[in-house]
Symmetry: C2
């Protein structure tokens, strides 16, 4: 009997995606454009965080945005209304972005006039963690109302990120969220992760976070001029 | 040239799953056991809602629970500590439950002594909406801090559910969540859906919700006796 032919679909998909992601990173290096991938559960405040981040860095960094959603363009519309260069990707049912989708999003932006692009990934703590988007840095947002047990349930997401924004800290008064316990759980998974407690509504904590981002962008792009 | 052989993996997966789900529903009908599938984003309060629902119906309905998570057993441990018959499924990376996984969970429960089983699906608004778990009714939880725009972004999830619990309404004071606008968006997708505004923390709204659930279970099981 012939041996069974085994087609490892998932492994092939990941190998293909990794190759596209590496090519994308070379292109970003050539054009001196930083790419940040932001992931979170639905409703953690990705769009509000992006808006306030861009506002805080206005005059220092030129930032464009790739918005991803299963359907609708409400997030990109919110950004464009603020004069931000933004493109909306509809994944049409897909639960995550991959590097090819991000490449198509980047083609719609004028990279010569941007220091950085932020990807707002699909709201989902599972699938986006598995796919390299080609980003230079990965960020995740965990909002206080979601609870401090999330690192226990979605460990891969916390493991693949360089930075964690703990958002909606203005909700701490109403919540039994234990910031110290959450921090300990995250650092056990990922000792190198940077953690910033913020509120995208009040602006609390944004100085430290945007300073970190500014430093990361400049380390990658140098002093880029259009 | 021979025509290309097309293997529709996704369609095949769904056809297989639907057959398992139908077989599961026949078994539930035979054993007179109601099955409710609860879906939501991470941190919307699924476990707290299940705990309070079982407590509210104690003495009226015997309810067991199937907990699903990528990793960890923290949710099942919380239920078992309250004397509830619960089993934990670890999906090992899978972003949703399918009918086969639920079947295995049901095998670990004593259905002769249960009127109903509640499934706590993986915290995810995308993938679980695509897979029939074999449940008799589908419920979703949307928590106030997630925002009133979620029906625009995750329309399939709102379309496949029979009932929507709008949880954490005690956060309404801190939020610009527009209950009327959200309701209109949901009813446009799914005019038949039942909507209850609740707080799993304070118990607000639980009378109406548990009455609805009690009625649905009795309509399916009749007066089941062990």
């Amino acid at each position: 009997m012939d041996p069974v032919r085994l087609i490892r679909i998932k492994e092939d998909i990941h190998a293909d995606n990794n190759a596209v992601a590496e090519a994308l990173r070379r292109r970003l290096s050539d054009t001196k454009t930083f790419l940040l991938n932001i992931m979170s559960a639905p409703g953690s405040g990705k769009t509000s965080t992006i808006l306030r981040t861009i506002e805080a860095l206005r005059g220092q960094l030129r930032i464009g945005v790739i918005e991803a959603d299963i359907e609708s363009a409400v997030d990109a519309e919110r950004l464009v209304a603020q004069g931000i260069a933004a493109v909306q990707l509809n994944t049409g049912g897909f639960c995550h972005l991959d590097a090819s989708m991000v490449s198509r999003g980047l083609e719609a932006l004028d990279l010569n006039n941007l220091d950085a692009v932020i990807i707002e990934n699909v709201g989902n703590l599972v699938c986006p963690a598995e796919f390299d988007t080609g980003a230079i840095r990965n960020a995740m947002i965990l909002s206080v109302p979601e609870g401090d047990d999330k690192p226990l349930k979605y460990p891969l997401m916390f493991s693949v990120c360089n930075v964690l924004l703990v958002n909606k800290i203005d909700y701490l008064t109403l919540s039994d969220f234990d910031l110290a316990a959450m921090r300990e759980r995250v650092l056990r998974l990922n000792p190198a992760i940077e953690i910033f407690a913020v509120s995208a509504r009040t602006g609390q904590g944004f100085d430290a976070w945007t300073e970190w981002l500014h430093r990361e962008v400049r380390a990658f792009t140098g002093e880029k001029r259009a």
